[in-house]
């Protein structure tokens, strides 16, 4: 079995994230890392490999600037067999539509894949649309937002906590799978894993390697534009009271009444 797991390099959500002057995400000035939500995708890919047996190979694919190779390295350290980093200046500022194009072409070249695994969203843009777009471009079934994943041969069955119902989704490989943070704790790279990762194959591809025209991606041809980015004004410091002899509840009730909530 051939598994491709898509990973994104994102600015650290706990850092002070910023935009560039052209309103794209600052991916250089802020420390980056493998998107936490993609760690769950790597974990599920590894679990499926472990269950399927020896002839299964897991390849991590990442699109991003030079530093994004760190995300691929982390995936290798966690246990994937091979890494591919698609890097090209022309990609900068791409929207989800263009990202899905590059990803689809990279996955095709890396494949043929039986299973393409993604996280539920990136922690920067948080759109949750790339797995669906990827499935559309590759004309594959999408089995997305899985909180429990089960495979048997080429059959995949997942639990999906939908908007109004909990569903069981079934499909036959090849398919695009996305997993949530409920799917199972992601493993930490072991010392052995970190050492082994240094010897694993890690390829760097440009757009021409995967047959994507540089004119079809990037900020200038994005199908959406961001006109303005405004930092939210800091919240003005509120009133904090200490609860003593039920004074807290009284003060809280008065506050809510003054604000007309009761």
């Amino acid at each position: 079995m051939n598994i491709v797991v898509c990973v994104k390099y994102v600015p650290d959500a706990t850092a002070d994230r910023q935009f560039e002057s052209d309103n794209t995400v600052d991916r250089v000035g802020v420390d980056g890392l493998l998107s936490e939500l993609d760690e769950y995708a790597v974990e599920q890919a590894l679990q499926i490999k472990e269950k399927a047996g020896d002839d299964t190979e897991v390849t991590a694919v990442c699109i991003g600037p030079e530093k994004a190779v760190d995300a691929v390295r982390k995936a290798l350290q966690m246990g994937v067999d091979k890494g591919i980093h698609v890097v090209d200046d022309a990609i900068a500022g791409s929207d989800a539509v263009a990202t899905s194009l590059v990803l689809a072409k990279a996955v095709e070249k890396a494949g043929p894949a039986d299973l393409i695994v993604c996280g539920m969203a990136s922690t920067d843009a948080v759109m949750s649309v790339v797995p669906a777009m990827l499935a559309e471009r590759l004309d594959l079934p999408q089995v997305t937002l899985a909180s429990v994943v089960e495979t048997q041969g080429d059959q995949v069955r997942v639990k999906r906590d939908g908007d109004t119902a909990t569903e069981v989704i079934g499909a036959t490989m090849p398919l695009v799978l996305s997993v949530t943070d409920q799917s199972g704790e992601a493993r930490y790279p072991s010392f052995k894993g970190i050492m082994a990762a240094q010897k694993k194959p890690l390829e760097t591809w440009s757009l021409s390697n995967i047959g994507v025209d540089a004119g079809d991606v990037g900020l200038s041809v994005a199908w959406t534009e961001v006109d303005e980015t405004t930092p939210r004004p800091p919240r003005t410091a509120g009133e904090i009271v200490k609860d003593e002899d039920s004074s807290g509840a009284t003060a809280l009730t008065e506050f809510l009444a003054a604000k007309k909530f009761i």
């Binding site: 649309v129 669906a132 777009m133 999408q142 999906r160 069981v168 959406t224 006109d227």
Partner: protein
């Protein structure tokens, strides 16, 4: 005037409130045409509801070929409706509820019809200018779609629903669903249990509990009921198995933006803040006065949530009598 397709958000024909918000927004962009993908037998009843909120047309797409499969068939149906509208009087935009399924439908549709996509809009104004809240609510973006027909997914509470009668002309539409769209099968479906409380993402008031509850959500629920609020939970409470994932507020759960958000026993990690930071008024109860949640609040009580919330709920209930 060009049509604006609005995908109706419903559960077995029961129209959900965000639909009316979308119709209100649609009127700013063109002529609202509501799209009902559901049981054809319920079409007339649904049409009456959306008509009262300004739908000029109501497309009824019977879901016999659609309901058993995830996402893809709905995207195909919308693609065909979009093409129909385009070849008619024109299509100004497609508005879709920002649910997890809605966003995925929008994603596939964007590729199919070659149009730009904006997700999680909190406002859409004339000319399709959208507002989004990003980076855990720390930034506000304005932008627009620049190619094709704007596809915009809109979050709940992004507009006050306005009642205004539209023509509500019902048109049955037979979508052709391809075999390749019928490959991800919904094998089983368990509707979420009704809680009797408002829907989390739609509620005007949300009361959430975290690790500090120690697993006892009674004070949270008591306070929620006193305020007519929805109940939410932090990831810590969900990971501990105290509350189902559908209650989770935060980066990987629901994003809420109510008039009032009460966080009890929640420290306020960035992942939680991402889900509630844009709430109008924020109140916290936490026994740790160093908890980062207190940096966000309009009003905070340092104390035990069990005693504070129980006493406050009693006081609120007494005021109502």
């Amino acid at each position: 005037m060009s049509e604006v397709l609005v995908l109706i958000d419903h559960v077995d024909g029961a129209v959900r409130k965000p639909t009316y918000e979308l119709l209100t927004i649609a009127k700013r962009l063109g002529e609202p045409s509501a799209v009902f993908i559901g049981s054809g037998a319920q079409g007339a009843e649904v049409a009456e509801k959306v008509k009262a909120h300004g739908a000029e047309k109501v497309y009824v797409v019977d879901d016999a070929q659609i309901k058993g499969y995830l996402v893809a068939p709905k995207a195909e149906a919308l693609q065909q409706l979009a093409e129909k509208a385009q070849s008619g009087g024109g299509l100004a935009a497609i508005l879709i509820p920002s649910t997890s399924e809605g966003k995925e439908i929008a994603g596939r549709l964007a590729i199919k019809i070659g149009s730009g996509l904006i997700t999680d809009a909190v406002d859409v104004q004339e000319g399709g200018v959208t507002t989004q809240s990003v980076f855990a609510g720390n930034f506000t973006l304005t932008g627009k779609v620049t190619k094709g027909t704007p596809i915009i997914t809109v979050k709940p509470n992004s507009a006050a629903p306005e009642e205004s009668a539209g023509a509500g002309a019902v048109e049955e539409f037979a979508a052709t669903i391809s075999d390749s769209a019928k490959k991800a099968q919904i094998v089983a479906s368990q509707p979420r249990k009704a809680t009797g409380r408002p829907e989390l993402t739609e509620a005007a008031i949300v009361v959430s509990g975290g690790r500090g509850t120690g697993g006892n959500f009674e004070p949270i629920e008591g306070m929620a009921d006193a305020l007519g609020a929805a109940v939410g939970a932090s990831r810590a409470a969900v990971d501990s198995g105290w509350m189902p994932h559908s209650f989770q507020v935060g980066q990987t759960g629901k994003t809420v933006s109510p008039q009032l958000y009460v966080a009890a026993g929640i420290s306020g990690a960035i992942q939680h803040r991402a889900g509630m930071q844009t709430s109008k008024t924020i109140v916290a109860v936490n026994k740790d006065e160093e908890a980062p949640i207190f940096e966000l609040v309009d009003f905070g009580v340092v104390g035990d949530l069990n005693t504070v919330l129980s006493a406050a709920a009693d006081a609120i209930n007494q005021r109502k009598d």
